[in-house]
Structure formats: structure tokens, C-alpha cells
Symmetry: C2
Subunit: 119 residues, 2 copies
């Protein structure tokens, strides 16, 4: 069992104004999936992209929207988002504070899949 | 893509003073894993148990401890816990407010595994 506060985990730049911290996954020997914490600065967004695996997301704090396939949905604390394999998506901070979310992805060939290129 | 606030999801009694809401998983056609939100009342705990799959957990709010295998670790907002397959664990609310956490499990035979019996 491993316990760590996400703030103590080294952050990875995952785009302009976007950081990612891997808090549970292969380094902890978890066999199936990876939990990451994303922090998106005011006005910043993750790239609009697709991939052949799902995301399961929980909004911890802040305000934003998820965009994809011509749709836009507002997001706030307590919202859960299921992005299915192949669905286009981008998360944008539309609030004044950090937009903080948990994003879980499956392991692909035993590894965390990389950040795909923008669509 | 599906967006829903966890508070709008029907809760399931997962023990005395413990509720679970399944916010992303088979109902959304996610193929690999299930995200649940647990709320543990003051003084309540999940049963001490083990199972052959991992948990990846994120503490959203409140204070508590995780117990198992003779160890006890304090938990607070922002902590992530990896429970590996076969590791004994119980989550207890030691604070004054609701102890709220995200807990992700893999699908087992295409379904969310049931709450196992207490060890």
C-alpha cells in the first residue's frame, strides 16, 4: 500500500498551463490503470484529442468545460465525466481559480499511454 | 461522453454509515474500470477486507485513516492511496465531517466486483 499527497509528486508539463501528476499506477505496481491529477490554469486547456481508451474523470475544484464532437458541457466540483474510446475531448478552465481534476486511464501494454497529439 | 454530478447518482449503502455512488463504469459503457465516490460518516468505516484487484483512491475531503496489515496511515484531502491486489484495507473517518473519497476498481468479468465480506 502506498500513500502520497499529490502535491508531493513531481509534476509533468502536459501542455501550456497544464500540469499532470501520476499518483497511482505502474510505479506502485498497480496492474490495470493509472490515476493522474491534472491542474489547468485559468484560460488554459488540454489539447482536443482522441484515443482508443476511456477516461474516467472527477472534478475536484474549479470551473471549466469539456469540449468535443461539437458539444460543450460546463463542469464544476463533484462532476464525473466518462469519455469513451474514440470520443474527441478537451478540458478548458473557464473559472478564476485552478481547475483540478482526477483522470484515470487504463494501462496500455503495461504502461501509461502518452499524451497524444492534438487532433 | 457522459457528465453527471455524483450527488445526482443514486447512492448504495456499502456498510453502516458508508454510501457508494458509481459515477463512471459499465452503465456508461466504459470497458476497463469503474469510478466510485464513497462518503463515510463520522466514526464509520469500510470493512477490513482483501481482494485480488487493486484500488486507486483519492481523498476529496475530510480526515481519516487507512488500516491494514498492522499499519495505519492518516489521510487528508489530496492524498492518493494505491492498495495492491491482496492487501488488507479499511478506511475509517476520524474527523468531524464527511470523509469523501474516489475509489477506482477494474472491471472483473465485465462487471464491477461486489463488496467482499469482512476478513
Amino acid at each position: 500500500m502506498k500513500v502520497q499527497n499529490y502535491r508531493q509528486v513531481k509534476n509533468i508539463i502536459a501542455g501550456s498551463g497544464v500540469t499532470m501528476r501520476v499518483v497511482a499506477g505502474p510505479a506502485e505496481k498497480a496492474p490495470n490503470f493509472v490515476m493522474r491529477v491534472f491542474e489547468i490554469e485559468k484560460g488554459s486547456a488540454t489539447p482536443l484529442h482522441t484515443h482508443p481508451w476511456e477516461h474516467e474523470i472527477f472534478i475536484v475544484s474549479g470551473k471549466g468545460v469539456v469540449r468535443g464532437a461539437g458539444r460543450e458541457s460546463p463542469l464544476q466540483e463533484g462532476d464525473a465525466v466518462t469519455v469513451l474510446p474514440g470520443e474527441q475531448h478537451s478540458f478548458l478552465n473557464t473559472g478564476r481559480d485552478i481547475f483540478r481534476l482526477i483522470c484515470v486511464v487504463p494501462l496500455v501494454d503495461g504502461k501509461m499511454p502518452g499524451m497524444p497529439a492534438r487532433d
